[in-house]
């Protein structure tokens, strides 16, 4: 029950500010270009440069692959700016082992593309468009993520 007593054990301001900031990024992209700033599509669209199969040559991937890569590069630069702003100290790291990152990444990547969205696509952009299929998708992945993180990951990491 401790989460009810202390829902934010390390503070809450940075969470809210960070959320508003990433929302501002999505809003800015929409204001200037009309583009929908979801993330997982870049993992399919970038393959269109080298894979000739029909799926990867769809217009919705080929026509957006350029800006999606640029947007991804922006993500890296933004996090780099944060790191420099914080004093360029120790690089970020994680306790999650490499094989789990690879395996979990594979399942998350496959699933996000099959289900047409991830935490930013269905979560931020889909909920931000008040789309009920996205709301159902968010409920679905939150549920399976809670179950997995508590039943499996807790014992590894």
């Amino acid at each position: 029950m401790s989460i009810l007593q202390t829902p934010f054990p390390v503070g809450w301001q940075h969470y809210l500010l960070g959320g508003l900031c990433l929302g501002a990024g999505v809003a800015l992209l929409f204001l200037f270009t009309g583009r929908i700033g979801s993330m997982s599509t870049v993992f399919s669209s970038t393959w269109s440069y080298v894979v000739r199969r029909p799926f990867f040559q769809q217009a919705r991937l080929v026509d957006t692959r350029g800006w999606r890569l640029l947007y991804a590069l922006g993500l890296i630069l933004g996090a780099l700016a944060w790191w420099l702003w914080r004093g360029a100290g120790v690089a970020e790291g994680t306790q999650v082992p490499w094989w789990l990152l690879l395996a979990g990444g594979f399942v998350a990547g496959y699933g996000a593309r099959l289900g047409n969205g991830c935490t930013s696509g269905h979560g931020i952009c889909g909920l931000g468009s008040l789309q009920w299929p996205s709301a159902l998708a968010v409920l679905t992945f939150m549920a399976t993520a809670f179950i997995t993180a508590n039943l499996v990951t807790r014992w590894i990491v």
Binding site: F8, H14, Y15, L17, G18, G19, L20, C21, A24, A27, L29, F30, L31, F32, R35, I36, M39, F43, S44, R53, W67, L70, G74, L75, I76, L77, A79, W83, E92, V96, L101, G104, F106, V107, A108, G109, G111, A112, R113, G115, N116, C118, T119, S120, H122, I124, C125, G128, S134, L136, A137, T140, T144, A145, F146, I147, T148, A149, N150, V157
Partner: protein
């Protein structure tokens, strides 16, 4: 793509990445602490992000005829079918295994977390296999 559009896209991505880093979502451990019920932070990040996005998506198309740099306002494609259900369920399993989703996997590299290259590689392979199977 015009230079201005490219610059706006890059800047928007940078703001997104800065937000992901500021909110510590680029740390898999923080995401796992939400999923394991120890810290509600991720809900605030999501709430803040959705609130700003909602305002932009609802208001801008009413205030402006078209985006500032031309083109038209897009719509997030979303439909509910068996693939969406299966895909979302699988995505959650992968996310729950690592605490890493596509945005933070990419952004985290900028803050020096090069281990996330493993997650990026996994996601790219997952997307490749998904597209490969979709063609059969």
């Amino acid at each position: 793509m015009s230079f201005a559009k490219g610059l706006a896209t890059l800047a928007a991505g940078a703001l997104f990445g800065f937000g992901l880093a500021l909110s510590s979502m680029i740390r898999p451990e923080v995401v796992l602490s939400f999923l394991q019920g120890r810290d509600l932070g991720l809900a605030l990040v999501m709430g803040g992000g959705v609130a700003v996005t909602l305002l932009a998506y609802k208001l801008l198309p009413r205030l402006l005829q078209r985006p500032l740099l031309g083109g038209s306002f897009g719509v997030h494609p979303s439909s509910w079918n068996r693939d969406t259900l299966r895909g979302a369920a699988l995505f959650g399993v992968g996310w729950g295994l690592t605490g890493v989703c596509p945005g933070p996997a990419i952004a985290g590299l900028g803050a020096g977390n090069l281990s996330l290259l493993w997650a990026v590689a996994g996601m790219a392979l997952g997307a490749l296999v998904q597209g490969w199977r979709a063609d059969r």
